[in-house]
Amino acid sequence: MQSATSARRIISALLALMLIAAVGVPLAAAQEASEPRTIVDFARRQITLEAPPQRVVGMSASISEMLFAIGVSPVGVTSGMDYPPEAAALPDIGTGYQPNLEALAALEPDLIIGNAQLNMNILDKLEAIAPTIMIMTMTASDVPQNVRLLGQATWHDTEAEYLARAYDGYLALADKIGASHEGPSIVFIVGTLDVPNYGKSATYFGDMAKRLGAVNIADSEADAGPFPGYAQLSLEAIVDADPDFVFTVTRGSPTPMPETMASDPLWSSLSAFQNARVIELDNRLFVESPGPRFIEAMAQLFDILYGEGME
């Protein structure tokens, strides 16, 4: 009787120990995985995250594309986002310029990735909704760096590191290609012919074109107008330079600039126009959404710049 009870006690104790080991060891591992992390963002703010975020929102298409790339599905996206395709079905939080804070709050995010270019003025409102990390993606070379930062903030470090290395390698390769090519001269216009902004090599598109060896005729001008990296050029200077390629991204008019140019004696006299080298580009891919698709954008651009010569 006595010994049976003690044997049962020993078995019970062993079982309990096994149970503690079975539950406790993975628990300890999980605890390690969810150890708080401190992220330093673009605005040099320190943000401490207690656990891997489950409901992330990116405040621009650029940010959301980077999130998708590292395997994080945001719970909502900015208006009009259509890449990757599943993004179009996600809840809409308004434009990147003026997000709808109610729509954002309704998603109950636990991490907000803000766009430092547009959202600094509502940072405290975003912070009131969820911890907010501000990032800035101006050119392709910012992409690997920001992908690493997002990986750190979402506990997706491994995916992010692999991608970032691939991006770094691609950029290094593109630079070598650019250096070995006699690049054409280009002009790059965003807006309309009436209200044009001439993008320099400091813009997302301008930087990609420069890496591929193109020479931007606006580069000697100082920044002018409301957007950083853009200059104003006189028509005379453009006619004088007569660039090999004219790239346009029409915003603020339903008629694409190449069509408008056809009825303009000056623009249509440019050799780029006569050689059918006036090309309207996709706004998202080349201007608005600097992100993982810079690879696709640069491949397209390489074909446009050098395609003929390679035939």
Binding site: D92, E102, A105, N121, F227
Partner: protein, 358 residues
Amino acid sequence: MHAEAAPPASASHALGLARRRLITRLMIIALSSLLLLGAMILALGSGAQSIAPDEVIQALQDRESVRKSVALIIHEVRLPRALAGALVGLNLAVAGALLQGVVRSPLGDPYILGVSAGGGFAAAATSLRVEGFPPDAVPVMAFIGALIGALIVYAIAWDGSGVTTTRLALAGVALTAMMSALTTTVVVMSVQGGGQIIFQWLVGGLYTASWREYHLIVPYSIAGFVLAMLLAKRANILALGDEMAQGLGLRVEWTRFLMSAVAAVLAGSAVAVAGLIAFVGLLVPFVARRLVGSDFRFLLPVSALLGAALIVSADTAARVTFPALFHLKNIEFPVGIITALIGGPLFLWLVRARRTQW
């Protein structure tokens, strides 16, 4: 018998009239408070996300008792915005009432007089162009800019005995145009953020108003309103005309300066938080004057309450009604558009009717 009984009878009659008048005025203050309360309830109950009224009340009573998203929307989005709107409305309306007393014209509105534009320029210039300028000091700069704006317009419009409506409106328009041009210049020079900031400064909106900005307006609202009430009796004497006021021992020009300074404090902090919101200082005192008469002791509190109610409801319209009219989702309009649409016609009518007296 009759001759003896008459005087006490008419005195008590007058006393009864005065009492009735006081009761009417207090009733109007109470009704204005109710109006503000109604506007706040409407503002908290409407937005891009639909939340049932009982859930709104539950969220206000106990934040933890509702869904997280509801708590966030009510406490972090709608409530701060409604409170900021109420304070901005209070400031602009009381500033308008004071300035109308200073210039003795219904056109004494901080927006028309260039006070807001002066404050807006000073705020934009210091916050955007001076590296490391403490944000807390922006309302102070706005106050100085607003005061300078007021003094310039006042000096131009003053012809020695008073101001004419036309001169006042013209001087204000010119100064506002100049100041707005300078503000736009400053904003364009500081490219970051581009168009949106211009919009915020020049049209006036509450989109960026938040808890953190409360210290930029709350102390100024309280101090401004208390000072305005302390000046109410003197403002009443000033309203009798300069000669009469001087005869009663009032330092006329000093009083005018004090009233302008308090108006600049109020308008300056409103501009620092919400940019240039048009015509609130025109519209609200105009209505308040018709409700409670020209006694500043009542005119000021009624203006404060109605101003708060106006901005809170106009902002609800700008957030909810306007976008719905145009079938826009997740887009909102700045509140300044609504006040300009309401106040503009009144301004035109006042100018056309040449109403130099109020």
